[in-house]
């Protein structure tokens, strides 16, 4: 399996008041198609790591290679380009745009790729269909349940055919039943060969991933191989 993410001695310090060294020499490799979870207590640096992986934040020292590209000292425009082409985001609070309907929300990444309105709406409908939301395509976010919103967010993350999906507490705002449904969807997505990194503090969610990275005080405390347990936990069916 080829490496899609390679972190070498990544350091990050925040200087809001007293310097806070959040990530301390992170070394990490994630292979293409892996389903990885990052766990850790609050303040362990897991969100910072996810932000760096998503090119939402810069690191101070070290090297970050994504899809064999060195991600360092990028301009905001270059960062936007990489995010649009290579990364799909799923957030805890869904982050759908309130005045756009489900289809328009899903189609948004393609708008920034200058895909025509007709073409991107067609593709968005296809993705909503795959996630069982075709009949909800013209509904506004406030008309959708939490699970539906997160499935819309997943469709939006997938529509630009990214190399990796980064999910920040994707089930954090959902009840247990809906969480299970959303995780099922994420597993199906991963089964298509999509690399997926989930930040979570829920061990139940982490246990469903192939690899668990445990962070503590900005250092990788442990990387657990969870593949066997994970496979037995799900009856995986490929997403169409």
């Amino acid at each position: 399996m080829s490496t899609i993410i390679k972190l070498k001695n990544i350091n990050k310090t925040y200087y809001n008041g007293a310097p806070l060294h959040v990530l301390k020499g992170i070394d990490l490799e994630i292979n293409r198609g892996e389903l990885v979870s990052i766990m850790g207590a609050s303040g362990s640096g897991k969100s910072t790591l996810l932000n760096i992986l998503g090119i939402l934040d810069n690191y101070d020292t070290g090297e970050y290679h994504l899809n064999n590209e060195l991600i360092k000292n990028l301009s905001e425009t270059q960062a936007a380009h990489f995010r649009n082409k290579l990364i799909g985001f799923i957030f805890q609070s869904f982050n759908l745009i309130s005045f756009k309907n489900a289809m328009e929300n899903v189609a948004l990444p393609l708008y920034y790729q200058k895909v025509s309105r007709k073409a991107r709406n067609k593709i968005a409908l296809e993705y909503l269909d795959k996630l069982g939301l075709k009949e909800w395509a013209h509904h506004m976010p406030n008309e959708l349940s939490g699970g539906q919103k997160q499935r819309v967010a997943i469709a939006r993350a997938l529509i630009s055919k990214p190399q990796i999906i980064l999910a920040d507490e994707p089930t954090g705002a959902l009840d247990s039943k809906t969480s299970a449904e959303v995780l099922e969807v994420l597993k199906k997505v991963n089964a298509t060969g999509m690399t997926m990194i989930i930040v979570t503090h829920e061990s139940g969610v982490a246990n469903m991933t192939n690899k668990i990275i445990r962070l503590k005080d900005g250092i990788i405390e442990k990387i657990e191989d969870n593949s066997e347990h994970n496979i037995s936990a799900f009856g995986i069916q490929n997403i169409k």
């Binding site: 932000n51 998503g54 939402l56 934040d57 905001e76 425009t77 936007a80 380009h81 995010r83 649009n84 082409k85 985001f89 957030f91 805890q92 609070s93 982050n95 745009i97 309130s98 005045f99 948004l108 990444p109 708008y111 920034y112 790729q113 309105r117 939006r156 630009s160």
Partner: protein, 416 residues
């Protein structure tokens, strides 16, 4: 390039906060309306006043004798003196830059009903003019013609009457040409009727005037070589003040008036008056631009302020867009487009409303119910106003757009 999605979003953003958008736009609307209304109003006043002078040659001056204010060469102060035909001949012969000179007689009459035609009569003033007076104070003719050189040379007993005189002495629509009227006891043939109107004129209202050849009046009124007043017109490119100065020197020399006597000669320099009117309306225009532009600028500040608030409110949305791949320039364009749209819609409505109000005012003041376009802005002023809107609308969005562009997705998303 036309981007339907962008315009759709602009419409949604503006209509999400209807009251706020309308109030913000109203500032711009009112500002541009004020600018258009003030400029149109200023133009209207200027054109109305200019119209009153429209029949007068602006490169001319009008002079008449007064009382001396200085004792000179044995003559006492306060002496009355009189311009005469000899003065006019000297002026004609010696003044450089003089184009035309036209002497006038304006006899005073206390008689009532001094003008008679059959049973019809009225009280009007008679004035003795030369034919060239029409070059200086142009008459618009309703019937016939103005005096000509033959009338002057042959001392003809003819007259040109004003429209009000015609109304009193003739039936409506009646041809007055060749008909006799009696003025101060002497019969004259009517050769023309002048319109007169509201325009400025000397020695009374032209509509109530009877113009007789200067030479005829000289004889019949027995005024000798007296000249009551005269008009002098400067040649093209010569300042009226230069001509006037030479004339005054001649008159002062001929009549033993002190060179420094400022009151002995009364004058009215149309060129100077026009200049002053020009300065006055330049001032009015500058004031209109300052007040109008100031009001508009306040409106634009309002737009900019609201856009700042909008950007603050939409920080998270901007963060989401940035996370999904929106470039900073895309966000900037979006915010600037919104600001520009509010300003442009409000601005163009303001211009249209301003033009409409001016047009209605124009219709209201016109005599025949047709628009006169006196109280109106020019096409170029409208273009300038539109350009100002475009520039200010863009500037109004610049600050908020830069602020939006600087929003980092990580910071915006952490605002959940």
């Amino acid at each position: 390039m036309f981007d339907l999605d962008r315009w759709n979003e602009i419409f949604i953003t503006i209509s999400r906060n209807k009251v706020r958008s309308i109030l913000t736009a109203f500032g711009v609307f009112w500002g541009i309306f004020m600018l258009v209304a003030l400029l149109g109003g200023g133009n209207g006043l200027e054109r109305s006043i200019s119209k009153n002078f429209s029949e007068l040659a602006t490169n001319s001056c009008f002079l008449w004798s007064g009382r001396t204010s200085e004792a000179y060469k044995g003559f006492r102060k306060g002496r009355r003196w009189q311009i005469n035909t000899h003065d006019i001949d000297v002026i004609k012969a010696t003044v450089k830059g003089l184009d035309e000179i036209s002497s006038m007689l304006m006899p005073w009459s206390a008689a009532t009903d001094n003008v008679v035609r059959g049973e019809k009569k009225g009280t009007f003033s008679a004035q003795g003019n030369y034919a060239n007076y029409d070059k200086i104070d142009k008459s618009t003719m309703m019937f016939g013609r103005y005096l000509n050189d033959m009338d002057i040379q042959e001392h003809r007993k003819v007259c040109m009457i004003g429209s009000r005189v015609y109304e009193v002495l003739f039936n409506r629509g009646e041809d007055p040409i060749g008909k006799d009227i009696r003025v101060d006891g002497v019969y004259y043939k009517v050769i023309g009727v002048g319109e007169g109107g509201d325009n400025m004129s000397f020695n009374g209202d032209k509509r109530e005037m009877i113009i007789i050849p200067f030479t005829t009046m000289q004889k019949l009124y027995n005024v000798g070589d007296r000249v009551d007043a005269f008009f002098a017109m400067a040649k093209s490119g010569v300042a009226v003040s230069e001509v006037q100065e030479q004339i005054e020197t001649i008159l002062k020399t001929n009549h033993s008036i002190a060179p420094n006597d400022k009151q002995a000669i009364n004058s009215f320099n149309l060129e100077e008056i026009f200049k002053q009117i020009g300065y006055l309306f330049l001032g009015v225009n500058v004031l209109a631009w300052i007040v109008g532009f100031g009001t508009l600028f306040a409106g634009i500040i309002g737009v900019s302020n609201i856009m700042m608030v909008t950007v603050r409110e939409r920080t998270q949305e901007i963060g989401i867009r940035r996370a999904l791949g929106a470039k900073p320039s895309t966000i900037m364009t979006q915010i600037m487009s919104e600001s520009f749209t509010i300003t442009a819609i409000a601005g163009f409505l303001g211009i249209s409303f301003g033009v409409l109000v001016l047009q209605m005012f124009d219709l209201a003041i016109s005599d025949d119910g047709g628009a006169t376009s006196v109280f109106q802005i020019s096409f170029f002023t409208a273009i300038a106003a539109a350009l100002i809107i475009i520039i200010l609308g863009t500037l109004a969005g610049l600050g908020p757009a830069f602020r939006a562009m600087k929003i980092k997705p990580i910071e915006a998303l952490s605002e959940e």
